[in-house]
Symmetry: C2
């Protein structure tokens, strides 16, 4: 029997904005750099403290807590019918170096507040509701984005790759996990995989990380698709040598090869013919890294995305051709051209888009359908569950830097839309 809409909470329920802001501020103090910047890297001491903080809040909300082998954290509110697939929501709390305090965090603390809102309203879910804090959405430490959700989606290749994965300090994934209290071995990774019927829906609340909602004065964005990212690591090697003694014709400078490739990435992206193609060289490292030494080695990391997978793969291919021809021209060795990931885009489920739209309408919040140009754990959750995302505006579209900001009014609106959507999906 289907419940009537009478069992849904009234859209007049209120968000405890003061507590939520305090939580956002407190979580931001678990950081390796001074405020307003935030750095919180996977399995670091600060990450461990932040995880405890989230578990404490889950406990306070009366959720039953489960943690998987890599530290994805689940807080469940059992529904009336625990035999049904649950409705899940969540995001991440790790933060890249010198970033801000809203990316991911709004979708974890906001999800917990959505649960609290529903509890205060007297609502009783039919399907269980679950808040998920994903491990390592950001690729900072091991170069692997969405590590937790990729594993949940059952990507065997990742489980295998993790056996040989080390961070910049040559610490293995397993040693790093152990130091954070996750004493796992390779076999345990399979237990992170989640079956396709485990969730009936997954919704992520997130700041837009772009300027559109703010510019158009809209409080809510309803995501219909997530752009598809590809990440590439490139290394060039040359002979290096003394900056004074080796004359220009005798050089094969790995640093200049890197510089040329960075500019080639920009060129190929701009040539794609679409505003939706983006490409970034966020990392250039030169070895030995001395003012009086010709670089003998360079390491470049490239990120390119598009809502059109073919067009993005075309950029990857052109970047590869450039890397080869730059190496040839400069007589350096292209010692690495590694495509770390090359993911297909994800589409939101029609049913969830509908539920989010109805929720926004009931709350009298103007909204628009839009594309997520940043990617999220939702991209991988979409492989095992119908998926949807709610965007809220953020200051000038800033993200991944200390100036990242979302107003509490906008966050509260997002929490309300999320709460109503969860409620609706939990009784469907």
């Amino acid at each position: 029997t289907h419940p009537t809409s009478a069992s849904l909470p009234s859209p007049s329920f209120s968000v405890d904005t003061e507590t939520l802001q305090n939580q956002i501020d407190e979580l931001a103090t678990f950081s390796d750099v001074p405020a307003p910047a935030v750095t919180r890297v996977l399995y670091s001491d600060k990450d461990v403290l932040a995880r405890s903080y989230i578990k404490k809040l889950m406990e306070k909300a009366g959720l039953s807590i489960r943690e998987d082998a890599v530290g994805n954290i689940f807080g469940r509110w059992n529904g009336k019918d625990t035999s049904l697939a649950a409705v899940a929501t969540g995001s991440h709390i790790d933060a890249i170096p010198f970033s801000g305090k809203y990316d991911g965090v709004v979708g974890v603390l906001g999800a917990l507040e959505a649960i609290n809102v529903l509890k205060r309203s007297g609502f009783q879910p039919r399907r269980s509701l679950e808040v998920i804090m994903f491990t390592s959405e950001e690729p900072t430490r091991f170069g692997i984005s969405c590590l937790g959700s990729r594993l949940m989606a059952g990507i065997e290749e990742l489980a295998d790759a993790l056996k040989g994965t080390v961070d910049g300090q040559n610490i293995s994934f397993f040693d790093a996990a152990k130091s954070a209290g996750y004493n796992l071995n390779h076999e345990d990774l399979k237990n992170v995989f989640v079956k396709k019927d485990h969730y009936s829906a997954f919704i992520e609340l997130h700041i837009e990380q772009g300027p559109i909602l703010e510019e158009e004065g809209l409080p809510i964005g309803i995501v219909t698709a997530i752009a598809a990212p590809a990440s590439i690591k490139v290394e060039f090697e040359g002979n290096g040598g003394h900056a004074g003694a080796v004359l220009m014709p005798a050089r094969n400078d790995a640093g200049l090869a890197a510089a040329e490739l960075a500019l080639a990435v920009e060129k190929h992206v701009l040539e794609s013919g679409s505003i939706d193609t983006v490409g970034t060289v966020g990392i250039i490292e030169l070895h030995p890294g001395a003012i009086n030494s010709i670089p003998s080695k360079s390491h470049i990391e490239i990120d390119t995305r598009d809502i059109d997978e073919k067009r993005r793969n075309n950029v990857v291919e052109k970047v590869h051709q450039s890397a080869v021809s730059i190496a040839e021209k400069r007589r350096v060795r292209l010692s690495k051209f590694q495509i770390i990931n090359q993911d297909p885009p994800a589409l939101s489920a029609e049913s969830i888009i509908r539920a989010m739209t109805i929720a926004a309408e009931k709350l009298n919040l103007s909204h628009k359908l839009m594309i997520s140009r940043a990617y999220h754990d939702s991209l991988f959750m979409a492989r095992i569950s119908p998926m949807g995302m709610i965007f809220i505006p953020c200051n000038k579209g800033y993200s991944h830097k200390p100036e990242e900001y979302a107003s509490m009014e906008d966050i509260a609106n997002g929490v309300k839309v999320l709460a109503l959507t969860l409620a609706k999906l939990s009784v469907d």
Copy 2:
């Protein structure tokens, strides 16, 4: 009264090559990275150990040891007439990250062996002979090359600049010195200055750091001039942002500005019209340095040199123009364009060139007059003393990397030429 050549040692004296090779190998073990690479940075624990090692060898050679406020180390063999200006020789033992074990070291351990050779031969100097180990020839830690010899040359601006100088970890010069046992204050820096009549000659033995001697099969190079270096630090700043969310037209990428400037340096150097102009971007650092973050800040360090000061200054000027126009075109801020040093070239003294040439001829060693494209403490010693340099071949001209190598035969030849030159100049 002038002594006759009878008081000079016989050119048949022998170098203790086994001991010298052992010393080179032992000194290389004071390193922060595994062999064959060497990293020995100013005032680090390994630098302190290496300094003790040098002082021990000076003591063993019967030299009287003096150390100045910044750690230039002097080992003196008193001559018959201590009222005369001394003849000095020496080099450095600090090593840039991941470099080799011969740069500088040959001129310190080789100088000590030259003294031992003279002592074993029964020679008695008239002028005192002094071996100098200079502090921080390499700019690794504080971005200042030839720190010790610049101060000895009495450069007041450097003494003042050191008040505000910090390393990459924000440790001040004075704190770093203190941690190595040099507890000095700003006033003490003036005591490092050396008067113009303190030395009658300074000679540095050094590996060529270029391929010429090896290619031409010559054991000895006699340096007539040292090319003039300029070092520049540049910083660009942009808005940064999320690698997925910020569309290409909205970007002002500080990393791409750095890449473009690096290629502009190469272009301006190649346009100089002379093979003697070189330019290097050895350092590019991107902030925040994450694959999914548009660089909001970039830091570039540039080294450019020439034997013609005007031509080199012209490159510096063009690099500056490029930095300004790149910043304008890419709408980034050129937040720093700092010329760290812009030194004039140095000429060797005719009298010392003559003494070195006579020594090589007496030893039946073929030789050529040549230019030093790398710079050395000799560049600054030339400001307070007649100066000369002896080059020996090194493997393929390699330097500043682990493959740097000079054969013991070539080193021993260099030591002999140095010993005869010192002897000659000490009785002149």
